[in-house]
Amino acid sequence: MLQAVSLRCSRGERRLFTDLNVKVERGTVLAVVGENGSGKTSLLRIFSSLLPPEQGSVLWEEQDIHQLKELYSGQLTYIGHLNGIKDDLTPLENLMSAMSLAGEPCSHDGAKEALEAIGLKRPVHHLPSKVLSQGQKRRVALARLWLSTHPLWLLDEPFTSLDTAATAVVTQRLLTHLQRGGLAVVVTHQEVALPAETVQRLRLTG
C-alpha cells in the first residue's frame, strides 16, 4: 500500500500542492490528472523518491520511503517522460540491461517475448534504438512492464506517441498487474480504459 501524507511541493516560487493526502491500495490504480504544469510529474517523482517533498512523507506499507531507501527502490518500476534507453544499443540489449540493473535479470527469450508482446517485431529487435520511430522507442521503454515483478508501477504519460493498438495492449497489461495484487500510479491526459472500481482519480489543480 502506498500512502501520501500531507505532501507539499513547490517548484521555484510556485506552490504546486499542499496537504495532499492519498492512499493507493493493492489491486487499484491511481490516475493523476490535471492541466499542464499542475504538478503531476512532480508528484510522481516524489512517489519515486527522486524528488524529496518539501513537507510530508510517502509511506510504503506504512514505512517512510526515505528510511527504506534501496529496499523501496526494489519494489518499484518507474517509467518517466524520458524513455531511458540508449540510442546505440538495440531494443533487446536495452531491455536486458535495464532489467539486470533493476535486479530482475531476464533471459534472452524472455526479453524477446516482452518486446513482441508490446508489438515490436523480430527485425526491429536488432536495430540500434536511435533509428526507431518515436512510438517504437516508447514501446521499448514500456516493454519492461512485461518482465517486471515489482508490485508498484509509476508511469508518467505511458501512452504518449503510442498508436491505439499499443495503448490497448498496455492497458491490458496494467489490468493483469492489478489482478495479481499490484498497484500503480499513472499520470495521463487520456482516459484509462480500466474497470471503474479499480481506478481512483486524483485531479491536481495547480
Binding site: R122, P123, P128, V131
Partner: protein, 251 residues
C-alpha cells in the same frame, strides 16, 4: 569513337568488368615487382654514403607516393559522388581508404627503419614525418567516420565531405620539406632538373612504384566488388515489398 561511360559506371556492368580486370592488374603487378626487386637488390650499386641501408628506398618512396596519391584519388571519387549522387563513386572512395592507410603506415614504418641507421633516431619531429603521420590520421578519420555512422547513405556523404576538406592538406604535406628546414630529403626526382640518382636505382624505384600502383588498383577493385555485394544484399525479412496500401478517404 565515343565510349558510353555511363554504361560502365552502372553497377551491373562495372561489377563483372572489374572482375575481369583484376587478374591482369595483379599479374602485371607481381611481374613488375619481381623485376624491380631484382634490379634493386642485384643490379643497383651500393650507395657511397649510406651503404646498403639505402635499399629501403625501393619500398619507402613508392609507399610514400602512393599514400598521397591514393588520398587525392579517394577525394576525387568522393567529389564525383557528391556532385552526381553516384553510388558507385562513393563505393570506390570507401574501397580506396584502407589501402591508402596501409601505404601511409608502411611509409611511416619503412621511414622509421631508415631513420635509425641514417639519423640515429627512429623518429624526429620533422615536418615531412609529422605531416605523413597527419595523413594517417586523415585516413583514420575518413574510415572511423564511416564506421561510426550506421546509415550507409549518410556515411557515404559525411565521409565524402571530410575527404574533400582534407585534400587541402596534401599539398601541405608535399611542400612541407621546403617550408620548414628539415632532416628529411627533398625531392630528388623532378621533371625539370632530372635525377640525381644512379639510373639503375631510379629505374628500380620507378618499377616498384608502378608495381605498387597496379597492386593498389587490383586490390581496390576487389574490395569495391565486395562492397557492392554487401550493400545490395538485403536481409530476408524484408523480402516482400511493403507496398503502401493507401486509403485516401476524402469525404
Amino acid at each position: 569513337m565515343s565510349v558510353n561511360w555511363s554504361k560502365y559506371s552502372a553497377p551491373q556492368t562495372f561489377y563483372p568488368l572489374a572482375g575481369r580486370l583484376i587478374p591482369w592488374f595483379a599479374c602485371v603487378a607481381v611481374v613488375l615487382m619481381g623485376i624491380g626487386l631484382y634490379m634493386g637488390f642485384f643490379i643497383a650499386p651500393t650507395d657511397f654514403q649510406q651503404g646498403e641501408a639505402y635499399r629501403i628506398i625501393f619500398v619507402h618512396v613508392p609507399a610514400a607516393w602512393m599514400s598521397m596519391f591514393l588520398y587525392v584519388v579517394m577525394a576525387v571519387w568522393a567529389g564525383v559522388g557528391m556532385g552526381l549522387n553516384a553510388r558507385l563513386s562513393f563505393m570506390m572512395a570507401q574501397a580506396i581508404a584502407p589501402t591508402g592507410a596501409m601505404f601511409t603506415f608502411l611509409a611511416l614504418l619503412t621511414g622509421a627503419m631508415w631513420g635509425k641507421p641514417t639519423w640515429g633516431a627512429w623518429w624526429v619531429w620533422d615536418a615531412r614525418l609529422t605531416s605523413e603521420l597527419i595523413l594517417l590520421f586523415q585516413y583514420a578519420g575518413v574510415m572511423l567516420l564511416r564506421t561510426s555512422i550506421d546509415d550507409v547513405r549518410r556515411a557515404d556523404r559525411a565521409s565524402a565531405v571530410f575527404a574533400l576538406v582534407g585534400v587541402v592538406n596534401v599539398p601541405i604535406i608535399y611542400f612541407s620539406v621546403q617550408w620548414w628546414n628539415t632532416l628529411h630529403q627533398g625531392a630528388s626526382v623532378s621533371m625539370a632538373t632530372g635525377s640525381k640518382m644512379a639510373s639503375t636505382m631510379l629505374m628500380a624505384m620507378l618499377l616498384m612504384t608502378v608495381a605498387f600502383w597496379l597492386y593498389s588498383i587490383a586490390v581496390i577493385l576487389a574490395r569495391v566488388r565486395c562492397v557492392m555485394v554487401e550493400r545490395e544484399s538485403s536481409p530476408v525479412w524484408d523480402e516482400k515489398p511493403t507496398a503502401v496500401q493507401e486509403t485516401v478517404e476524402a469525404r
